[in-house]
Symmetry: C3
Subunit: 416 residues, 3 copies
Amino acid sequence: MASRYPSSLWIRLPLFMLFLEVAFILIFSFLFSYDYDLENLPKGHNIYAEFQDVNVMVILGFAFLLAFLKRFGFSATGFSLLLAALSVQWTMIVNEFLFHFSDGNVKISLQRITEAVMSTAAVMISTGAVLGKVNLMQLIWMAWVEATLFAVNRWVAVSVLQIGSYTSLMHVHLFGAYFGVMVSWALCRPLPDSRAENEKSTPVSDTFAMLGTLFLWMFWPSFNAVLIASTEKKLTALFNTYLGMAASAVAAFSISVATNRNGKLTMAHIRNATLAGGVALGFSASTLRYPWIAMIVGLGAGATSVLGFVFLKKCLERAVRLHDTCGVQYTFGLPSLLGGIVHIVWIAIDSRENLSVGGYSALIEGGALCLSMALGLTGGLLTGFSLRLKLWKEPHATNYFDDQAYWGFPHLAVGY
Amino acid sequence: MASRYPSSLWIRLPLFMLFLEVAFILIFSFLFSYDYDLENLPKGHNIYAEFQDVNVMVILGFAFLLAFLKRFGFSATGFSLLLAALSVQWTMIVNEFLFHFSDGNVKISLQRITEAVMSTAAVMISTGAVLGKVNLMQLIWMAWVEATLFAVNRWVAVSVLQIGSYTSLMHVHLFGAYFGVMVSWALCRPLPDSRAENEKSTPVSDTFAMLGTLFLWMFWPSFNAVLIASTEKKLTALFNTYLGMAASAVAAFSISVATNRNGKLTMAHIRNATLAGGVALGFSASTLRYPWIAMIVGLGAGATSVLGFVFLKKCLERAVRLHDTCGVQYTFGLPSLLGGIVHIVWIAIDSRENLSVGGYSALIEGGALCLSMALGLTGGLLTGFSLRLKLWKEPHATNYFDDQAYWGFPHLAVGY
Amino acid sequence: MASRYPSSLWIRLPLFMLFLEVAFILIFSFLFSYDYDLENLPKGHNIYAEFQDVNVMVILGFAFLLAFLKRFGFSATGFSLLLAALSVQWTMIVNEFLFHFSDGNVKISLQRITEAVMSTAAVMISTGAVLGKVNLMQLIWMAWVEATLFAVNRWVAVSVLQIGSYTSLMHVHLFGAYFGVMVSWALCRPLPDSRAENEKSTPVSDTFAMLGTLFLWMFWPSFNAVLIASTEKKLTALFNTYLGMAASAVAAFSISVATNRNGKLTMAHIRNATLAGGVALGFSASTLRYPWIAMIVGLGAGATSVLGFVFLKKCLERAVRLHDTCGVQYTFGLPSLLGGIVHIVWIAIDSRENLSVGGYSALIEGGALCLSMALGLTGGLLTGFSLRLKLWKEPHATNYFDDQAYWGFPHLAVGY
């Protein structure tokens, strides 16, 4: 096997990782110390259970959601853990610099760790788009650039456009999806037919992925509500997301059967589209005052997601050579876009007694959406091109979707 | 494959699902709006972590508990998610109509969503009894009827018999098990020998099922305590359930070895009977004032469950053609019956200083138990007969326990 | 099959288990009743979510961490559940006798159950060292002795050496690892070559183990903080552990690649060494006042763990016939030792203004560390020798690492 899977990253990769970690430790040593603001303590402490829900989503949910490939389960779960560990640390640093350095309020709190963990979802989503086609070193570089850019994106949205810090975090799905899609496009190689076999799933790998889906599905209400301070708004976000997820699951099953000529379900749709409701409700979960609107948004998002998988995926693969391993555009991209539009329309409708204020808010939110989209697309494109440098020792297309390129097996693995 | 697995549900099934979801949205739009009763907020908010434990049990625990069949993992996990999503919404609607419509207190709260999620356990349990023998459309119809009937059952118990709302929820195991068993019996077909191969498990599918078991085992204390308002009673329920589960696990291992002539363990016993303690303690977890009683109940429930699997299962299959895929009668039915009897006896003993009150309470609780049993049995029987209508395009027995009847596979699946 | 896997434990094992459970119930009936100290209630109640995190770690995390062997998944998950159920009950009893019997404050509280669950981690860790080489009866005996000894160890540390109750619990990793390693050594048999095939993992069993790892990784902050009363110290412990785990994951990936001549990752390192940071921070998570120190400790622990796996494991297997199935010495033993030394050094440094107090504290902590090490080693050695008694019907080496020796399979299992 040694000849087919070259040991090219031997020294380079560990040095790169250790360099990053040592740099993080140095920056932490200059930047952070524990200095508890006693008034903030009780609140920070109370959100710990919800923080853990979000942590489970980002560390375990996404890792297993990506574990659907036949021979790429080690990389999906292992690389996700590493990328999350690096991204959370780096995001904490960048966030402190951008948001709190000027006011001297540099500290570690549960809220700020939660923000960093939620931001890391962008990296996980992008990883889904390029899964199996890049090596670990390229992933780390992508994660580093993306975490930085998403923090900058949030900073512009919050400081310049004056949108809420919580809403700015909810751009994570849109940003992550389009960033990942563009990286994948910029990296595009004619994929050989030989990789086709490895790009499939097996019943076992699909069941592992379903486990990831279920954790994401169950804890999505926590994701959309964890950082909301007002109890009333928080409960609204929890209920809306819960009901939207339920409607989204029904839509995913319905449309998946309806679009299959044999009237059968497709696991890839169920695994992904059931989550679209939570994605779409990210922006507006706390503001929609009627549960039925949340349910309609969930239903629409689930349907959009499946339709994207069925009609758009193959189309884009052929037309513009856009290969998106997990279909993150349909799970996260389109539903988030839909949710953003609903959010803007709702703001405009909701403030009908004060048209100018509502119109201005809607405009600002629309601007933030365009900003995330633009920064995601261009950032992803540039990152994708940067990943084609010889430096990264890009894997050969014959090694795509294959754990054996990155993991030593005691004996030849035969897939699941 | 197209000839063997007919596409008969192509239009019918998605229209049915979408019709239900649209109906739910319409009813929600007339019935519910968020109108927070500020005094109730803190309490509702505090139970969120425990609500998520219960949510994990119902969404993930049951789904994976049912995933033990060799070739039915997609259906077990996927259908469970869909049924839960539909049942929770419908149960919320029915509960509001039955319990709160008269007093105009129609609202969404964490407590009411928790009640709906707990009620949904009945649907999950019944699904276990008919698993693999009915199609998704039949399951949805069954879930709809069962969720309605269980809500009616609770309403009668609470309004007419005046038993506690919390106790009435604990009938969910008994009701679900006997409803499912009767549906399965009413549907009975001579099962062909060819299905025998598919009704087995593999080490991998059993390990997935064990994952479901562990989540149910760990979070059962939350299930038995989440809705109890008094802190003292809540802690009693948590401790009693925890200790009862431990005793139940020991009983399951002991009796499983003792009843095997080779002195070996049977995975089906361990997967199921370890949970019997939690089921049996549902009724009395908060009232038993001595931990050792809870432990004896757990020990007895675990032993009953394994003995049921060993001696009753084959017997009933042959004698009355009662086929119970998961053995829900032994995991949920008998232990719940045992727990109900303990509950009644304990009430009678505990109020020995006031015999007439105790006797009356015991009588009422016994009546509620009989009501659940009767409604479960007759409801299940009628539902089972209604599922034999041509309308549902019942699967042919050769397709039993086979994902390929409902799921499209990119290539021929070969099981785990 | 009957000839190869003898039914020798048929009557003996169930009687042994039932005897223990009945004895526990009797002791509970004399010892415990629920008598709520009302002032302690709110606090006890608030830690429930964190208690469940720890419960998930001990019941599910360790069970799946041990499920990495090709043909030993049932035993790994099933036996763990049984051992945990027995150990928690027994530890509660011993703890009450040792710590609370004299002051008459014998009661059940969430805090004491949490202590018992955390103590049970020692049994889980030791099980990892002997996994596949002993039968269930031997495991139960080992668990019983170990739970007793660890409680005695804590009692000596708390009562005689006057170290904190919380710190004494953190010796669980060190004690468990060296106890298990010595049991394994005392039991040593020349392992036949035939067992080599069964001692391997498959991609599926490794993915199940990765699931266990992720749960341990995510919830480790709860483990290191759940019983700390001061909010400030609790948050410090949470943050330090979170950051230490992240650094530990980066170290595990880096050193795993660096020590592989093909530049590839080894799943066994990732599964285990990513957890070393949490282990090492057990002692000092709440006292380290700078996050970068926690990160350095995590980095060092992760590196130590991988280096132990790479250089020490084979060496010890050959030189002293020390066979450690899971490598618990490298995951828990060495990192815990490292953490203990850091803890002592930090105490000495931190109290530099008052050298005598600091020196004394450091001396005491060092004494406690030596005590755990000594008691773990000698206890393990004696327990290991006691396990060689004919009484236990030790499995023949040809049955090592094979579920079929303990579990009935409906048909011949072919592994994953």
